[in-house]
Amino acid sequence: MEMSFESLKETIFAQSRTLRPGMQDKHETSAWDKNRLDVESALALKNIFFYLSLIFRYPTEQIYSEIAGHLEAFTDFFTDYGGAVPELPPIDDLQPEYISLFVNNQGFVPAAPYASCYQGDGLLMSDNFYRLRQIIMESGFMLDASVHELEDHLAVLLEFCSSLLNTLVEKNNSSDKNLMACIYALLEISYRYIEPLVDDFTDKINSYASYDFYKVTGKALKSLFHDADPIYVQLLGFRSNSTNELQG
């Protein structure tokens, strides 16, 4: 029996807060017809996730030049979701801006980029953290040894979503049983880790930022995840109870 998008979401939210037991096998592969995947859209969203992941990383010279080099390609996206095309300040200004917003400010960090900080007591590695780590590992990924970050850093989450979409596209023609697991992971990351963060996170950026860059990109992030339902419905080709959204 095919699940509607809404009931799929419900399933995800009903998952326990802690670890999930051997997740792959439990997913009903029949819940989704892989032929419905909108490959082009999936690739587009994959790239947007990856680009946003780059934006919410510390802008080293390499990252900065990637951000700068591809900004034009995402003009439409930022205009639609961020209300403007972000103006990229010089790297010497962007680096301190990044640190003062997301790493360390005078005694604190204004907009902590960690999903955990927007749940429970506001500290790192809160309840859902290990579940996240498990999802990432069971999807065949882990943090590179050179990366001293936590898995629930926004940039990691976005990159992970991007990779999941990539897997969906690449394996779409195979008879891989794990595609459903990929979708579960994608939706869970989006709805349980990123979406709960975006409002507070962007509010804090807005009150502490010196430049518009992270305000605009933050707004785009926020709008994108507020708009996640219709995007996923369309992209994955789900049946939806909400006709309004189905036509989106």
Partner: protein, 184 residues
């Protein structure tokens, strides 16, 4: 073998007002930071006397684990129940957050927990007790204001304290028969 009858006996005269117990409880029991979310607390009782003849006491309090528990009576889903040892507990799954128990409690000992998605309160740290460990508040206290134990065991610290010292209970007029005893 006889049933256990758990109780806490408090010697609040020793209390330093250091609040170790309240912080320990929060971490032990996933009680969120917040002025309205607490299972146990320490109150500065009103200062008595005029300078320089002053007197002050600090009173730790919490759910009294009443033998005649008003919260249990009002619970429409029987989420609140009493264990054979006399510990009043909440089955978080059954709680519908109607808050009737919060109104009924004469000791203001209950609150809504986001973590458990339920109204909750002190459990005597039964998860620790079942492993032979003391409740977190009892264990962490510098001066051991609280002692936890079995009233049915005449050699337990609680029994010995109650047999050797006078004590009072909070709000006796409510006829709740608390399992918390404040020795004098």
């Amino acid at each position: 073998m006889k049933n256990k009858r758990y109780a806490i006996v408090l010697d609040t005269k020793k209390c330093l007002n250091c609040k170790a117990c309240t912080v320990a409880c929060k971490f032990e029991n996933f009680v969120p930071v917040g002025d309205d979310t607490y299972r146990i607390w320490v109150t500065e009782l009103p200062l008595q006397g005029k300078f320089p003849h002053l007197h002050q006491e600090y009173q730790t309090s919490q759910c009294q684990h009443c033998e005649n528990a008003p919260c249990e009576k009002v619970c429409p889903t029987k989420a609140t129940f009493t264990t054979p040892e006399g510990v009043v507990l909440v089955d978080y799954k059954k709680c519908i957050l109607c808050k009737a128990c919060m109104t009924a409690c004469p000791y203001d000992a209950r609150f809504v927990s986001e973590h458990h998605e339920s109204v909750e309160k002190c459990t005597f740290c039964m998860h620790r007790v079942s492993e032979g460990r003391e409740p977190a508040c009892v264990e962490t206290c510098p001066v051991r204001v609280r002692e936890f134990g079995d009233l049915n065991d005449p050699n337990s610290k609680v029994s010995r304290l109650l047999s050797s010292r006078p004590y009072l209970q909070l709000k006796p007029e409510k006829n709740t028969r608390p399992r918390l005893f404040y020795v004098l």
